[in-house]
Each structure stands twice: as structure tokens, then as C-alpha cells.
């Protein structure tokens, strides 16, 4: 074993590589006192055609609309109607109810995998309401709220999760990696990041086709480290693509806190500044702030002014997935201490404060949505859960190419002949 000159083992005293450390670990009390949240109203709302160079401060502040008491304020207040906000609340509650049911379905052995978006419902739901079905989302696995807000059939989602005979993706994908073109929801990849720059290409095609549709792409804090993130910001800036480049900073990437992705040196929104793109930092647990920021970015994009980077600051309230146990790497109960609260509770509080909603209405809605999810689950389970029912095995060989070549034909025959 041939050692390079300066490195015989005894010469290596192992200095300290600076590895960022989170502010709490199992056994510690949840403590977010190191975080600063600028007050509601502190972020200015520039005209959409203002030069990005003039608005860099937005990458370091925080766009907020709802304050701790549930009152809306500041330049970013989208002033939504009670009806719109009730629709939003309903979509968020339905999303959470769906997540809970499917998580339990996994625990009951009905499927192989599930991921919840608890605490982050405002993000997917608000974007689904601001954008249209002709716009295209390039989602992560944590914006199922988009499909739910757009009334994609719950039973279809469940059929996909169960890989059963009615699975719209014919059993080919891992649970939750949906595809729903008609709902503006691009086929989800199991690799993180890979679709971020595809969204830029999609958006460029809209420009090319001379329409005003846009794309909206999601990525997690951890996944900003993937190179697709770099490509997307670079290509979007160069070709002025009509795309919203969303970063969901939920503080965690499986067991790694956001500092491992570089979140301690500056904000993730600041990545946009590096490319001269407008960059907003938004309270992701504030439905109204998410709505307003999305709307602003969508206007820019539709006007041909190009891409906007938005960091949604939020907290992943539950485990990464059904394979994960967060109590192994972070203080118990951190979610309950998240200073920006829960997006559902906050919008509900706001609506109640406005006199547009009540605890009774809310309880009734919860019961109704619970029943709706249960009905859908029963319908899907009647078709079958994972392993109990599945598409014909020949589906394994379809859609590899537009038409199967001789290899696939022969292999299919071999399988079907068995």
C-alpha cells in the first residue's frame, strides 16, 4: 500500500472540519430562540417590473401577512374573500386528513411507502389556487395538496398508492409518485431535484408557443444542493423563462438539518440573487403570504419578466417518510414549538377573527372530510391494496418505448407464459 508523501497515518493529526450542527438533538428541549422573524409588514412589495437588483433585501427578510393573532396586514396582504379562504382551509384540512389515512394504511401493511406534508399544506394548496391547470407544476413529493386542491379524485391517488388494478400509473411507480397532466401536475420522479430544470424547459416551450402559461417547480432545502438546482436558476436567468422556482425550506432533509445544505451562511432565497433573479423569502405556514408571493411571481412570469425564486420557510412537522423516525435525530416535539405555528390553525383563526368561520363549522368540515377520505379509501381498497390486486403483468413491458421492440415482446411472452 503506497502512501502519498505527506500522509503516513501518524502524520495526520485530524484537525476539525467545520461541520454545521443543528440547534438541538434528541434529549434537548425544542428551542427556536436563535431564529428571528421580521414583523408583518416589514417586507415591501415591489412592482413586478422593478429591477431585481433593487429588491435584494427581500431575500433576507420574510414576507408575512398573518400575525400571531390571526390578523392580516402589510403590503403583501392578498385580501382574499372569505369564500376563497374557506376553500383554502378545506383543501388544507383534506390534505392532512388524506395524509393521516394513508400513513395509517402503510402501518396496516396496505402499501410499501408513504410521505406526509404535515405543516406544509399551505404551500401546495395556495399555489394550486393561484395558478391554473394550463400552468404546469413540477412537484416534489410534499405538495400533494396541489392535486387535492384541484379535486383530483382521492380514490385515484389511493389506487396509485396501492399499485392496484386501477392504478392510473399501472403499478409502475412507487406510491405517491403521481402524474396528472390534466391537473397541471408533472410526473413525479423518485430522484430529488431532477425536475427543477425540466420546469425551465417546459416554461421556455410556453414562451416559444407564444402563450402565457407558466411552470412552477418545487425543491426541498436539502435538494438545493443537487446540480439541477444550479442548472434551473442558470437557464431560467439566461433565457428569462416564465417559471417560479420554489424552495421549500422545511428545516430538514431526512436526518440532516438545513445547515448541511448551506442554510447557515445565508438564506436559500439568496441563491436567486447569485443569478440576478428576484428572490422572495416567505412564511410558508402563512397561507396568505404564500398566496401573495406566488401571485406576484406568476404575474412577473406571465408578463415576460422571467423567473422568481421563492423560499418558503416552514417546518417538516412529521417524519421524512414512513421509513423514518425523527426522534432519532431531533428533539421530540419540535413541531409543536415551531414559532410560525401551523398553517391550518392560522388560517382558521384568521377566518374566525373575520367572522367568516366558526369552531362548529370547522368541526363539521373535519368530520365531513374524514368521511370523504374514508369513502375513497373503501372504494380503493375494494379494488385492492398492494399485493392484493394489480394491473396485468404485461403492463410491465408497455411504455418503455412508444412501441415495444423484439426484446420486450419476447420478455413479455416469457413472463406471461410462466
Amino acid at each position: 500500500m503506497n502512501q502519498p508523501a505527506d500522509t503516513s497515518p501518524d502524520q495526520v493529526p485530524t484537525g476539525a472540519i467545520a461541520v454545521p450542527q443543528p440547534h438541538g438533538r434528541p434529549g434537548d428541549e425544542p428551542d427556536f430562540s436563535h431564529l428571528e422573524f421580521p414583523p408583518v409588514g416589514s417586507a415591501r412589495r415591489p412592482a413586478v417590473d422593478e429591477s431585481p437588483a433593487q429588491m435584494r433585501e427581500l431575500a433576507y427578510g420574510l414576507i408575512r401577512v398573518l400575525d400571531a393573532d390571526g390578523a392580516a396586514g402589510g403590503e403583501w396582504n392578498p385580501s382574499l374573500s372569505g369564500e376563497t379562504m374557506r376553500r383554502a382551509l378545506r383543501a388544507m384540512v383534506l390534505t392532512r386528513t388524506f395524509d393521516d389515512r394513508m400513513f395509517r394504511a402503510h402501518r396496516q401493511g396496505k402499501t410499501s411507502f408513504y410521505m406526509k406534508c404535515t405543516g406544509e399544506e399551505a404551500i401546495g394548496c395556495a399555489q394550486a389556487m393561484v395558478l391554473g391547470k394550463d400552468d404546469m407544476f413540477f412537484p416534489t413529493y410534499r405538495v400533494q395538496g396541489i392535486l387535492i386542491t384541484r379535486d383530483y379524485p382521492l380514490v385515484q391517488m389511493m389506487n396509485q398508492i396501492y399499485s392496484n388494478a386501477s392504478d392510473p400509473l399501472q403499478g409502475r411507480q412507487l406510491p405517491i409518485l403521481y402524474s396528472a397532466r390534466d391537473y397541471g401536475f408533472f410526473s413525479l420522479s423518485g430522484n430529488v431535484g431532477t425536475q427543477y430544470c425540466q420546469a425551465v424547459g417546459w416554461a421556455m416551450a410556453n414562451t416559444y408557443k407564444n402563450n402565457t402559461n407558466i411552470a412552477s417547480a418545487f425543491i426541498g432545502d436539502g435538494s438545493t444542493a443537487t446540480y439541477d438546482f444550479h442548472h434551473a436558476l442558470n437557464f431560467a436567468a439566461v433565457y428569462r423563462a416564465p417559471v417560479i422556482l420554489n424552495i421549500t425550506n422545511n428545516q430538514w432533509a431526512i436526518s440532516s438539518f438545513q445547515g448541511i445544505a448551506g442554510g447557515e451562511q445565508t438564506t436559500f432565497a439568496a441563491r436567486g440573487i447569485g443569478f440576478g433573479l428576484p428572490a422572495l423569502r416567505v412564511d410558508g405556514n402563512d397561507f396568505l403570504a404564500v398566496y401573495a408571493a406566488t401571485d406576484w411571481a406568476a404575474q412577473r412570469a406571465r408578463k415576460g419578466l422571467g423567473a422568481t425564486v421563492i423560499e418558503f420557510y416552514t417546518y417538516r412537522a412529521e417524519g421524512h417518510s414512513t421509513s423514518d423516525d425523527p426522534s432519532k435525530y431531533r428533539p421530540k416535539d419540535e413541531a409543536a414549538h415551531w414559532p410560525m405555528g401551523d398553517p391550518i390553525k392560522r388560517l382558521k383563526q384568521h377566518l374566525i377573527a373575520l367572522g367568516e368561520w366558526s369552531e362548529e363549522q370547522h368541526a363539521a368540515m373535519e368530520a365531513e372530510l374524514f368521511a370523504q377520505v374514508r369513502t375513497a379509501a373503501r372504494e380503493a381498497e375494494a379494488v385492492g391494496t398492494l399485493g392484493q390486486s394489480r394491473p396485468p403483468v404485461g403492463k410491465m413491458f408497455e411504455q418503455v418505448f412508444t412501441a415495444p421492440d423484439w426484446r420486450l415482446e419476447r420478455q413479455r411472452q416469457e413472463v406471461e407464459g410462466q
Binding site: 404546469m136 424547459g201 416554461a203 408557443k209 446540480y227 437557464f235 418505448f401
Partner: protein
């Protein structure tokens, strides 16, 4: 009909398709104003405007990702990777995304993209302008991998690739852009104009992907080759005087197994030639298929004549590059084996 070299034929294919189909657009590093370092996209920006033929950042993965997004949204992007030696940064997008998009979305989305890239050695390009990585694409379900070896095929196959609804890796043997180089680097290059396959129709035509071309009929041994190696093989056959059947595979996936099988069953012997390193090169796959389908017809071990299992070394270009002499020796071994 006009006489074209391979670059002109490729250029004409893109021109014809951009003319016919407004969803076709072309981009890549230096592919816009300048027309590409090998000039394959020359004139396209002038003719069709910057929106349809443009320069791209030096980010092969970004180029392919952008093309996938465009392709899923109804366009037919044709992207150029300047040298295939620089395609690895796009490998993830090709393997994990382009190749699987149709499958995983059950046909809701697909990536009808064409990825053009010059490949192969013989140009004193050193380690990073000489590689032949076709095998890493042929292994991937959902990708087509094709390699033309004449101006006529280059144009007809590129049009087929662009019209194809699946992602196509379109590898261009750059050593024969200007003429059918046969490995004799010490002799003057015969220009394409002297070769019948340089007669290329001006308009639209296709050469289907998935069909091999028997470039020389023979009875003694089958030679499978593609790209520049077709000419090296033909030279070896001529020089050895062996009555070989030379098949230009043209398309590796989908593969024309029928033509291969028929030939090997006839000759009972086979030599496979490629530029890529031997280990896990595409010859392995061909041998596996041939011995499966023609086992009882084989009279001699199938020979592989390939690049060495080393990086491509600048000073040893002509020791690394497969020569007619090495192919001829393999032909002799194949026909002499009993």
C-alpha cells in the same frame, strides 16, 4: 440529390425538419450563432432565428433537462453535446428522466428528444475528445442508441430520430465527418464526394432506426461494426482477401438481430469491431445474443477487436485506434479456427 459530407447531411436533416415542423428546435454549446464547433448547425440560426437555434450554457445536464421539459411540452428539441466525452454530466437526466418519463407516467408525458453528439477516436483528441461510450446508453431501458456511418444514413436517421417519440442518443462518428476514414492514417483521406453514399436527397426522407445494413456480402465470416469501424472493417476485408460479410449495425437499440442472426448462421463465424474499451463494451451484448441464437452454427469463437481497457492516450493514437491490420488478424483467426 446533392453531394454531401456527413456534416452537411446532418445540417440538412435539421434544416429539413425545422422547415417542416415548427416544434423542432436546436440548441447546444456554440451551436447557435457560430453553428457548432463541427459546423453541424451552421446557418440554422440565421435561417430560423435565435429562438429556434441558440447557444446554451456549458451544462450538459442542464441542456438535456431543458430539452426534456420542452419535449414534454410538445416540442421536439435536438440538442448537441459538443463531444460525447462531455455527456456524463447529462447521464442522470438521460437515464433517470428521459428514459423513464413515458413509462412512469403511463404515457402522460414523454421526452421526444434527440441528443446528437460526435464520438470516437482517430483525431488526436486525447482522453477527452475520443471516447465511445455507446454501451452505457444501450444498457438503459427506454433509450434508443443509433450511429450512422454515411452521409445518406446520417440524414435519414437523424430525421427518423427527430420524428421518433422516444429519446434517441444519436452518436456521430466524427472521424468520418469528412470522408470514410479506413484507419490508414498515413494515407490521404478519401473525401465523401467519391463515395456513393454521399448522394443525398435535398428534401425529407428517412432511414428507419433498428435496421442494419449489409455493406458487403460474404460467406466466410460475419463482421459486425458501426461508425468509423465499418470502413476499417471493409479495409481489413479487402486487404485480407477474406470473403467476409460486413454488417453496419447502424442502430444498437433497437437492434436488427434478424440480419445478424441470418448472417452468422450462414457464415458460422463472427468478428465484432468497436472503438470502445473491450470490457463491458457493446460487443459483449452482441456475443451473448449470437451465441444464444446461433450457438449450433458457430464454428469458431467470436472475436472482439476493440479499444484497449485504458483511457484514450494522446501519443498512442494509432496503437489504440483499431487498425485494419488488427481486424484482418482477427478475420484470419476466425476463418482459420476449426
Amino acid at each position: 440529390m446533392s453531394t454531401m459530407n456527413m456534416i452537411q447531411a446532418l445540417n440538412s436533416a435539421m434544416d429539413v425538419m425545422m422547415e417542416r415542423d415548427p416544434t423542432v428546435l436546436v440548441f447546444g454549446e456554440d451551436a447557435g450563432y457560430f453553428g457548432g464547433v463541427f459546423r453541424a448547425t451552421d446557418g440554422l440560426q440565421r435561417k430560423y432565428g435565435v429562438s429556434r437555434c441558440f447557444d446554451a450554457p456549458i451544462a450538459e445536464g442542464g441542456i438535456v433537462a431543458t430539452a426534456i421539459g420542452m419535449g414534454a411540452n410538445g416540442l421536439r428539441p435536438v440538442v448537441e453535446i459538443q463531444f460525447v466525452d462531455y455527456i456524463y454530466p447529462a447521464y442522470d437526466q438521460l437515464v433517470s428522466e428521459a428514459a423513464r418519463l413515458r413509462y412512469r407516467s403511463n404515457g402522460e408525458f414523454s421526452a421526444p428528444i434527440t441528443v446528437r453528439s460526435p464520438y470516437g477516436g482517430g483525431i488526436m483528441g486525447g482522453q477527452t475528445h475520443s471516447q465511445s461510450p455507446e454501451a452505457i446508453f444501450t444498457h438503459v431501458p427506454g433509450l434508443k442508441t443509433v450511429i450512422p456511418s454515411t452521409p445518406y444514413d446520417a440524414k435519414g436517421m437523424l430525421i427518423s430520430a427527430i420524428e421518433d417519440d422516444d429519446p434517441v442518443i444519436f452518436l456521430e462518428p466524427k472521424r468520418i465527418y469528412n470522408g470514410p476514414f479506413d484507419g490508414h492514417h498515413d494515407r490521404p483521406l478519401q473525401p465523401w464526394a467519391m463515395h456513393p453514399a454521399s448522394e443525398v436527397p435535398a428534401g425529407h426522407y428517412t432511414v428507419p432506426l433498428g435496421s442494419a445494413d449489409i455493406r458487403r456480402s460474404g460467406k466466410a465470416v460475419t463482421v459486425l461494426a458501426y461508425g468509423t469501424m465499418v470502413y476499417v472493417a471493409l479495409a481489413a476485408v479487402a486487404e485480407s482477401g477474406i470473403d467476409a460479410e460486413v454488417i453496419d449495425l447502424r442502430s444498437l437499440v433497437p437492434l436488427d438481430l434478424e440480419t445478424i442472426e441470418a448472417s452468422v448462421k450462414k457464415t458460422g463465424r463472427c468478428v465484432i469491431v468497436h472503438e470502445a474499451p473491450q470490457t463491458s463494451g457493446f460487443a459483449g451484448e452482441l456475443i451473448a445474443l449470437i451465441q444464444q441464437h446461433c450457438f449450433y452454427h458457430l464454428e469458431a469463437p467470436i472475436e472482439r477487436v476493440t479499444g484497449w481497457d485504458t483511457p484514450y492516450p494522446h501519443a498512442f493514437e494509432w496503437d489504440y485506434f483499431v487498425s485494419p491490420a488488427r481486424v484482418a488478424a482477427a478475420l484470419r483467426r476466425a476463418v482459420e479456427a476449426v
